[in-house]
């Protein structure tokens, strides 16, 4: 019962929790010491048709042992026992036709031109996972013209309402940001010029803040601190440059003279992987197609590009087989690279979760009734693996995100979904028990 006495009694807890982050971190994790230490979100645009990943004839939940994976994801065959295909989540509330944009990782209404109404799951995870130098890295893959013309777009991730997070698409800029301190040649000159300028700006800003009134000093110091953060990141990365040398990819012609857009896709993936391996980041979001309804993969021999890619029925289509196989090769590379780095009594891959899906549900023109997802990595047995989990279409993608959060110790109940919305869009509460071991 709500009454004043309860308020007063509960006050000590209530008030102190007002100064902690919104989600209660007191709840125990699902398995003590369990949960992923790093999460990768791979969002392929134009939809993820379930027939391109679910073996033909499989209608219900069941093991994948002894069953051959469909051609588009055949590269994952050797890794089948850590694969869980989840079919039957929905995203009807995200307005996913022609891409849900921020709504895909946010679990809220998206669509073209709609700004993010809250933070997305990848950002939230980056705040909770063990702290790193650069908590969250977003990488975007698109047609060459778009990557050159608009090297940073923001369509998939957000740190809050109206606060989009940009994806990096120019690998030269991204290399400079991560490895400027150990770079060479043109990249090094850029890095030095930029660092020098930032240091001057920070100096000048600090000087202008000295005579401010107290209250304004605090606000202004946040501004100056901002430069500190930027310079600090460079500084901190610089300090670990010897460590980074082991992981930094080699800058080759693909960076400076790409023949195809896939050259940049490949090296952007390398940079993302190196950031994970070196421990610079714990959350990597890859936007293949950058959340829009265009995109190009000419480097795979796919002449068609742009909007029409989303008008092709994906199953058995040679273009989509190529694109999905390319995705799968990237996923394999991610897993193999992480497996090559020892961690604890195993490897980095043991505590890594890869979430593969689309920002456009199952196809470009969709109502979002089915939103297939593949999970790779079972994080020491927390998640089911080696199987298909068929759900009934009544639980939203938000429930998947809430479940992942639970595995890292965050019991937020629902993710970005009010009770009012849940009454219409979620048949259950709590985590998706069906996907947990």
């Amino acid at each position: 019962m709500i009454n004043r006495r309860n308020i007063l009694h509960g006050l000590a807890a209530g008030v102190s929790s007002a100064f902690l982050p919104n989600f209660a971190s007191a709840a125990p994790s699902i398995k003590s010491g369990g949960g992923p230490k790093r999460v990768i979100f791979f969002m392929q645009n134009q939809g993820f048709d379930p027939r391109t990943c679910i073996p033909a004839g499989m209608k219900n939940s069941g093991s994948l042992a002894g069953i051959k994976l469909p051609e588009p994801i055949s590269a994952l065959e050797p890794f089948k026992e850590r694969l869980q295909i989840i079919n039957g989540l929905h995203g009807k509330h995200t307005s996913p036709s022609h891409s849900a944009f921020f709504g895909a990782l946010g679990g809220y209404r998206g669509s073209d031109g709609v700004r993010p109404s809250a933070s997305t799951i990848d950002y939230e995870l980056s705040k909770v996972l063990p702290e790193t130098l650069l908590p969250h890295l977003c990488v975007g893959m698109d047609s060459m013209e778009n990557m050159k013309g608009k090297p940073t777009v923001a369509n998939l991730s957000a740190s809050g309402a109206g606060q989009p997070i940009f994806m990096h698409s120019n690998p030269n800029h991204l290399y400079e940001m991560l490895y400027g301190g150990i770079s060479q040649g043109d990249i090094r000159s850029q890095h030095e010029a930029r660092s020098g300028m930032f240091d001057r700006i920070e100096e000048m800003a600090a000087a202008r803040g000295k005579t401010l009134p107290t209250a304004d000093k605090q606000r202004f110091s946040q501004y100056v601190q901002g430069f500190n953060d930027i310079n600090g990141l460079r500084g901190r990365l610089g300090k670990v440059s010897d460590h980074l040398r082991k992981f930094a990819p080699k800058v080759d012609d693909r960076y400076t003279n790409p023949e195809f857009e896939t050259d940049w896709h490949d090296v952007n993936l390398d940079l993302g992987i190196s950031a994970l391996k070196s421990g610079i980041t714990n959350v990597l979001t890859i936007g293949s197609g950058r959340g829009e309804i265009f995109g190009a993969w000419k480097g795979l021999g796919v002449e068609k590009q742009g909007h029409n890619l989303g008008h092709i029925d994906q199953p058995d289509n040679p273009i989509w087989i190529k694109i999905r196989q390319y995705n799968s090769r990237m996923l394999v590379k991610l897993m193999e690279e992480l497996e090559s780095v020892p961690e604890g009594s195993g490897t980095m891959m043991d505590k890594t979760l890869i979430v593969y899906t689309s920002n456009n549900a199952d196809k470009q023109h969709t109502n979002g009734a089915n939103w297939p997802v593949m999970l790779l990595g079972n994080c020491d047995g927390i998640f089911k693996s080696g199987c298909l989990t068929q759900l009934d279409g009544k639980r939203p993608i938000n429930a998947l995100y809430a479940t992942i959060l639970e595995t890292v110790g965050v019991n937020s109940g629902r993710f970005n979904m009010s009770e009012q919305m849940a009454a219409k869009f979620d048949s259950g509460t709590g985590s998706l028990k069906e996907i947990l071991a």
């Binding site: 709500i2 009454n3 004043r4 006495r5 309860n6 308020i7 007063l8 509960g10 006050l11 000590a12 209530g14 008030v15 007002a18 073209d112 031109g113 700004r115 109404s117 013209e145 778009n146 013309g149 608009k150 940073t152 923001a154 109206g162 606060q163 940009f166 000159s189 850029q190 030095e192 010029a193 930029r194 020098g196 300028m197 001057r200 700006i201 000048m204 401010l212 009134p213 209250a215 304004d216 606000r219 202004f220 946040q222 501004y223 601190q225 901002g226 430069f227 500190n228 930027i230 829009e292 309804i293 265009f294 590009q305 742009g306 909007h307 009770e419 009012q420 919305m421 009454a423 219409k424």
Partner: protein
Amino acid sequence: MKRLTRVLTVAVLAGLGAASLSADTYTPGEPVRGKFENLAKEFLDYHCFDCHDGETQKGDLNLLDLGPVDETNAAVWKSVWAQVSLQEMPPKKKDRPEVIKRLRFADWIVSELQRVMEDKGGFHAHLDPKKGNFLDHNLLFGPLPDGIKLAPASSPARIWRVTPQEHITRLNELINTEPQFDPKKPGLRTRGDVVPTNHGGELKLYFGTDRIIKWQGGTVAYATSVKSIPVVLSSARKHGFENYPDFYTVNSAEATQILSKAEDILRYMAYGPLSIAKPEQITDDPKTYAPEGDLRGLPTAITYSTKIVRPMTPVHELMKNPGVTDKGLRAAVDYLFEALTFRPPGKTESDDYLDIVKDSIDKVGKENGVFLGLSSIFLDRDALFRPELVETSKPDKDGRVMLQDWELGLAVNHALRYLKPDAELRQAIADGRMRTRADVEREVTRMLADDRIRKPRILRFFKDYFDHDLGGYICKDDKALATTGVASRGNSHYRAMFDAAASTDRLIELILEKDKGVLKELLTTQQVVATRADNSYFGRKRTSEERSAAQVAKKKAEAELAKKVAVDLKPIVAELAEIETQLKNLKGDPESRKILKELTDQKKKLVAAKKKIEGNKKGNQNNVNIAVAEAKLTGLKIYSRVSHRSFGNGSMKPERTLVTAPEGQRLGILTHPSWLVSHSDAMDNHAIHRGIWIRERLLGGGIPDVPITVDAMLPDEPQMPLRERMRVTREDYCWTCHKKMDPLGLPFEMYNHAGLFRTTELNEPVDTSGEIIDSGDPQLDGPVKNALEMIQKLSKSKRVEQVFVRHAFRFWMGRNETLNDAPALQDAHKAYRDGGGSMNALIASLVTSEAFLYRTVEE
């Protein structure tokens, strides 16, 4: 017995003589010195414990154990502060503290909370514009009790972050040439107006759209192809005043983005569309650029004309010629500095930036070095904040310093405009004629009188005050939207809402142009600035009987049309058959070539006519909306401001009509769908938000925060009218606050949640009754039949006018009013009234007040 003990205790404490709440004079703003034991305990003892002690716990609140303010009881003390300031507690029937005692107690709590929370995030609630009404209205506009001695007014010295709208308008000036003011079409977007939001309600800066002559694809393809950058600075709030200096700073993410966008802007300044397109895309003959393949969504899908339209700047000069000269560099630095900070750089500033640019050029060459180096100016403190620091002058005997020169000029400029000071103001500042109140009056009067000088800040006040521009951001449940009767496919509703926001802005401007009885006009006008969609939104939702009747009528009309079509077709079909026969007969006959040709021509005509008639069969019946009795809005053609083409042919259009609302259904902005939908939610009206709006923005009332343990949700009962679902707020615990809101919001139930007028809700007659309770003006209090009656009453009230003036004060001062501001507020209200309800007079009064002109610097 208990009471006697208390009285004695109080007497003893008072006798101790230490700092007490009832000491002689009270000057607002002076620190209240004293500890809990000798200040607060006495108050609590005398005024609170009777009902809130261990034995009697009214409202289940026991204050007996409440000790000195600390971080664990801060929330309780905050509630106490709210209840006492709002004079909710002690309740009317109990002995109430005198004014000075109450004010001191409230001040003490605030200063204690500030002290205690200093390293825990600080205490800022009293600075929040929503809490501005915690200050008693009657003290501001009525006689002050003896013992209150006001200090001369001023505002604290501060730096004020540039608003997102100002910032993007500043950047827009660098790359786009907006049209000059056209007195024949005053509603069109003009240089100096704020950058409007686009088709999706996003605030974006567009590159080169004024030169696009051709593009591939439709709407989304266009939107993806064009170069645009979103606004970088953020605004944390949606409702109410967004821009108090206390709220904002610039963080590292924003700084990084500003820097990277700066390079894009600089490149465009230098090279125009060449910086975002290939040379072959720039041609006046689109046929010469016809690339193969599907380029939709790519930057290469666009053709730009060759005519240069953007402003030509020293940046362009610098990059036009090979090599670098100090002169060219400095010209670029100085130009950019003034464009971004609105003042010319000092010698050191100019030298510093010149060094940075030269340094960059040394490291990475001219091309990259210039752009990298110049981008640093975008992060200058004064490019992102506006200082009011009065560092160069000595305080007067009251510790105040008057703003001077550039700080004063920019403050006055900022009160009205988003562009840098115009030539006249700039000259006045340079000449030292921006130092006195008379100087300010001169410039403000001049700018207010000239329509060519655009003053988007004034419109901004009304947007923050009414909050009528939020409708497009309210996500509507598909089914719930469909039942309102408006077109609900795709994004059409949201589009209509963004159009409606632009329309309402224009209506406000029209009223401001007349500048008579501004508030009253806004609240009661019958004028509407309308688009075609408004025939629905300003229509009336049909009852279910009417709907059935309309359905029948529609079917009948369709049947009749089908009949008519058949009738019309008959002779044509017959004639066609005849011609066919004739043609067959004449086939092969060389003599009849002429006749053959005539017949074939005639056949062609008849086939075309047949097609046309068959097309008409569909007729207009598909577009007839049976759910709504549409309004027939016709009137004068006017314009409103919309963004550059952002969505191909689907972009926003400026055309509007100025119409009169249908009789007896609407009264002023509060009954327009833009305002109504802005205060609604996914499923229904939000009577509580609407009630809060009326209570705070018109009646000057304050509402304490929702207690943190309350789960503020209405039951999910789709078959119940809203009023019935709101029964949960009428429970005892809730009603003390909700009686301030609900009865003011429920009269708006005469409209559904898309803003359409209705007489039934869920097939029953809709209950639109409400009540004005405890407004502070006894003439206002009483039941009301519906929103129209309520608004009519409110529009006549002097108190409402005064509350409006309080809000204008907050907006233009950038802070909440204190008791020391009472004279300025009264002057401003008088100026407003003397001007016949003139906004210009109100603004001029505020901007020449001491609160605006003077700053206090802390020791």
